[in-house]
Subunit: 645 residues, 2 copies
């Protein structure tokens, strides 16, 4: 059927383009670009013809502050100032609380809201990000470093290792950005983050029972069983005064949260609630001499700005594995959270956001942070949401936050020493309750069972095995899902919708099939991991059609329209399939191979082996040609030359 011989006129070969061959470097360039520069970051710079303006654009690209600062107005500043004030009121209690989670001196939490926000304001691409410490990362970094240095018996070493970890995280994050490896962060799916957040909330709330009961001794393990044991063993330490105070605080915080949910305009009520709790709590404890009633407080806080910490870095090989582990995991985790939240607000507001620039900015802020007694910072969800709702318009809100924090450190720090610990527990618990997203989990269950499993793996893993394991298992399942996809790309059998004259999946539409012919749409990609599967799948379609219709299949059409990539193992596989079909007296035709696939089929001589006449541009052409040749056989005009099995 079709034409015979090597006539090179295109029309003879059903309109298929056999000439398209890009050079190796064109392909490599395009591949690298799609992989690492999908957002085409340098286009504006390259397009600028004026040399000096090109330099300006380049600087603006790398240092976004030069992009927005020249057009900055007083009006913008007023918005940013109010927003900055709001996030600072959140930053102080959160800073102290999360530093406690990481077993760090509370003042380090305050330091961490001074230098990093300044750095982010210069290099960050997002307009809405509010920089601060993260609850989950604080707990994780603390747990990992605790395995090599005890925060109780050797707090200095512990502190120095935390700074070192922050430094490594900074270098790692900046490198990810510079080498454009944002692709790594892409592997943290929404489902993983939802589950991880839920699991973290769960263990953090369990840990807060220590604060609520005012206990002195408590399990450092996050495991539920250990926590319960610990409470029972030390039950004589429970102070009801503390518990009552804590529940009052928690009720107040939850109430303000409820107000915000009902009336979004009153978001500031919940934003300043933690600060209110801290202030009211401090005054109350001071007035009633709370410490005598067993209500522990934060304790002495020194006045003064961040001291240098660069001289404390410790790269001793004894501690390095733990430092690296903590740095890499918390580094990727905090990037995933920070980038996801920045992106979601940029979409809502149509403001700029560049994942790779964000990584560099986060890296630099942790780098400079590690020099100045700060630990890991990122863009936490809650703080950024408050910043957005408070009307912050540019990264200037972070400058405001930094300045206000500097003033606090210089003049007010000692006052916060009176904060009762139970107030911090209430603040953490309330924040964590907001992170448990039931509706999302139900949604995942309904829409995609695999996503649900990924989410639950993160949740259960974090809650019962440990935060790092939970995260790794969940990301691992995501990777397995991606690999399973590549191992078993979905194929389907096509039929014709006569009403529209088009070909569709027979399972999805009432499409009619043809006697003696099977049309299979291959899934993408056709790779080493599925070349055997594809063969078996096609053979199965043939066998099942022969069985059910008592029909002798004589031709198979493979619709390649959806196949965007192929490799050498798969090309061998297609040749083997052709061989198997030939042995069974079946002809094989290929319809519409895509550019990249066609290139490889040509170079590998596959096209020559199969014959150009076996390629068609459209399904309709292939089907018509096939029906024509089959009819001829039925009439006995031409006898099919192959034998039937």
């Amino acid at each position: 059927m079709g034409t015979i011989g090597n006539n090179s006129h295109e029309g003879d070969h059903h309109g298929v383009n056999f000439t398209a061959q890009r050079g190796f470097y064109t392909k490599l360039k395009s591949g690298l670009k799609e992989t690492f520069f999908p957002d085409d970051p340098f286009r504006q710079i390259k397009e600028e013809e004026n040399r000096s303006r090109r330099i300006i654009k380049g600087v603006q690209y790398y240092v976004p502050i030069f992009e927005w600062l020249p057009n900055y107005t007083l009006r913008l500043f007023i918005s940013d100032f109010i927003s900055g004030l709001t996030i600072t009121s959140l930053a102080i209690p959160q800073g102290i609380s999360y530093a406690k989670l990481a077993n760090l001196p509370p003042i380090v939490g305050l330091y961490s809201s001074f230098v990093p926000p300044l750095v982010y304001a210069i290099f960050g691409s997002s307009r809405h990000m509010a920089v601060g410490t993260l609850a989950a990362a604080s707990l994780l970094i603390g747990q990992t470093i605790s395995t090599v240095a005890s925060p109780e018996t050797d707090p200095t070493l512990y502190l120095h290792l935390i700074f070192t970890t922050t430094f490594v995280t900074g270098v790692f994050q900046a490198c990810l950005g510079i080498f454009r490896l944002g692709i790594l962060v892409d592997f943290f799916s929404h489902s993983t983050i939802t589950g991880f957040m839920g699991g973290t909330a769960f263990i953090l709330i369990a840990q807060q029972l220590k604060g609520f009961f005012g206990m002195k001794h408590f399990s450092t393990k996050t495991n539920l069983v250990e926590v319960a044991k610990s409470i029972i063993t030390n039950r004589h330490e429970i102070r009801w005064e503390t518990t009552v105070l804590g529940l009052v605080f928690l009720a107040f915080l939850q109430f303000t949260r409820h107000v915000r949910n009902k009336r979004p305009k009153l978001f500031w009520v919940s934003a300043i609630a933690p600060m209110t709790v801290v202030i009211v709590g401090s005054i109350f404890v001071y007035l009633v001499h709370g410490q005598k009633h067993g209500i522990p407080i934060v304790g002495h806080l020194d006045r003064g700005l961040n001291p240098w910490s660069i001289q404390y870095f410790n790269f001793d090989s004894k501690y390095l594995p733990a430092v690296m582990q903590a740095a890499l995991i918390t580094g990727v985790l905090s990037l995933a959270e920070g980038i996801a939240i920045g992106r979601s607000f940029s979409v809502t507001d149509n403001t700029p956001h560049d994942g790779n620039k964000e990584m560099v900015a986060f890296g630099l802020m942790n780098l400079f942070g590690s020099f100045t007694s700060c630990y890991l910072t990122s863009g936490p969800f809650s703080k950024t949401a408050v910043n957005y709702n408070a009307g912050g318009k540019t990264a200037m809100t972070n400058v405001v936050q930094a300045v206000l924090m500097a003033l606090t450190l210089q003049f007010l720090a000692p006052l916060f020493g009176f904060t009762p610990l139970v107030a911090l527990s209430a603040i953490i618990t309330s924040a964590m309750l907001g992170l448990v997203n039931y509706t999302e989990v139900i949604y995942l269950y309904k829409v995609d069972k695999f996503d649900f499993v990924i989410c639950m793996a993160a949740f259960l893993g974090v809650a019962f095995l440990g935060m790092d394991y939970g995260l790794m298992i969940s990301v691992g399942l995501g990777v397995i899902r991606a690999l399973l996809y590549v191992a078993r790309p979905a194929t389907c059998k096509l039929g014709k919708l006569n009403e529209f004259g088009i070909y569709r999946d027979v399972e999805q539409y009432p499409a009619s099939t043809f006697p003696g012919l099977i049309i299979v749409q291959l899934g993408s990609p056709v790779y080493f991991s599925n070349s055997v599967y594809v063969k078996e799948r096609v053979m199965r379609y043939i066998k099942s059609q022969q069985r059910s219709n008592e029909d002798v299949v004589e031709q198979v059409i493979l619709d390649m329209s959806g196949v965007t990539s192929i490799d050498t193992t798969a090309i061998e596989g297609l040749l083997e399939l052709n061989k198997m079909l030939e042995k069974n007296g079946i002809e094989m035709f290929l319809v519409n191979p895509r550019l990249e696939v066609m290139e490889k089929l040509i170079i590998s001589k596959f096209v020559d082996k199969l014959g150009k006449e076996s390629f068609y541009l459209t399904l309709d052409d292939a089907v018509k040609a096939s029906q024509y040749s089959l009819k001829k056989n039925d009439n006995g005009d031409i006898v099919h030359e192959t034998s039937h099995a």
Copy 2:
């Protein structure tokens, strides 16, 4: 445009089927079937209505010997006997040589060609497989176990650990087959195996210099530098007599190989050549008192069949990690080789082959082998090829091989003790030279650079880092390739080929685009790992069209025909994309979502959010509707309600 409201009549929504919803169990069943049972193995059994025949078919399915033995004829036996004789003549020298590679007593190599072939003959599904030991796996198993037990100072422990490893391998392989995890073997691509074979050949040949030089002391490391050092240090041990003898043997073996390549009918010349070398070598050494001239021989071999070894299994936790490592890596490796070779001959001959059954058969033969003093066996490439060429028709060849080997063990074993070691070195070297596949590497380089890298990684990794590392790096690169595919599925911009009335990639065909409209064909799958990429890619198409054509894009059509799978993160991503487009005054339409994708879009309420009128069955419908609505705007009849950025 389109109809407004919730009119549920299908025709109103452009013929798209919004009803197709399979239940959860239907989807799960179909997913599991495609993943683990793509070959639909039980169909024939299920379809048989007669109960007793169903049992027979079931037994035949699990124990393939019952399938072919009832129809076995004398004529088949004659073919099988000749073929069995040929492979036995190969099995003896190979068995002894490869056992030496694994630092095992040579007799263990002979034992391994007795029990395992018998087991395979019962359970194996391939008709052409010839069972035997593998050079690469022998070296690898030896190297790994050497790290915990020295074959020189503690040969008994070493031997027992090898049996234990074989046992674990057998259990592991059988489990892979029973749980239908052949999908794991799918990840060993052709390129990995090519590179691994080449690398192994390289280091094995370097190791054979010991035999060629007749040296007593030699590096146990496979590293080239170590080998060179070792030769220089011990150069006084070099015996020219051995070297000359070895080169003569090698030249002879290579010559017979050349004869076979030129005249395939003379394949038997090269098949019996190793046996010839062994016999001639033994006689020569016996006659000239070779041992006095520094030509070492194999040494004493005991008469008798395989002794039991089940009592020697050693699961001491000190050795277990090495045992497990060796068992898993060599287990998967030998499956990959055995299954690939079986499959390729079954395709050539259109005979049955079932990957999962093969795994069970390989597992059982290693299991029974480990009870009877055998070590790891599989279906080696060379032996199986000889079997095929010698005209073997069924697994009976393995029975013949086993019986002849039993006779050899019982009566002739001591004679083979006179084999000069240099003969074995020549046999290994010659076999290894045949494994280096230059043409394949050049082919990979031309067709697919990534496959070339995967192949070279295996080659260089094996040659310079170690066999296990080389294998893992290469398989790892394959996995990365699969993940990269899922992270960056190829999208393209479509245009219309007016001549044919169809839509094709504008890069591949001279297709014309439409003003104010962009048609993007999405690659498959749309997953968490690429949801950000897809957004950025679509925005880039829009920006580039707006720049180059000075055209205001008002509509985007996403062709979903090729997208076979989607997850919740990606659905969120599409919603975000729609939001971004809306902000820029651009409408988004979806064309032809596939069954699985449509199901999720419906359950996730995506369809409701976007509106059914935004879905089209064909590109042509969508384009026509779009052009109609754009024209109306141009004429000022209807003003576009969204603003332009």
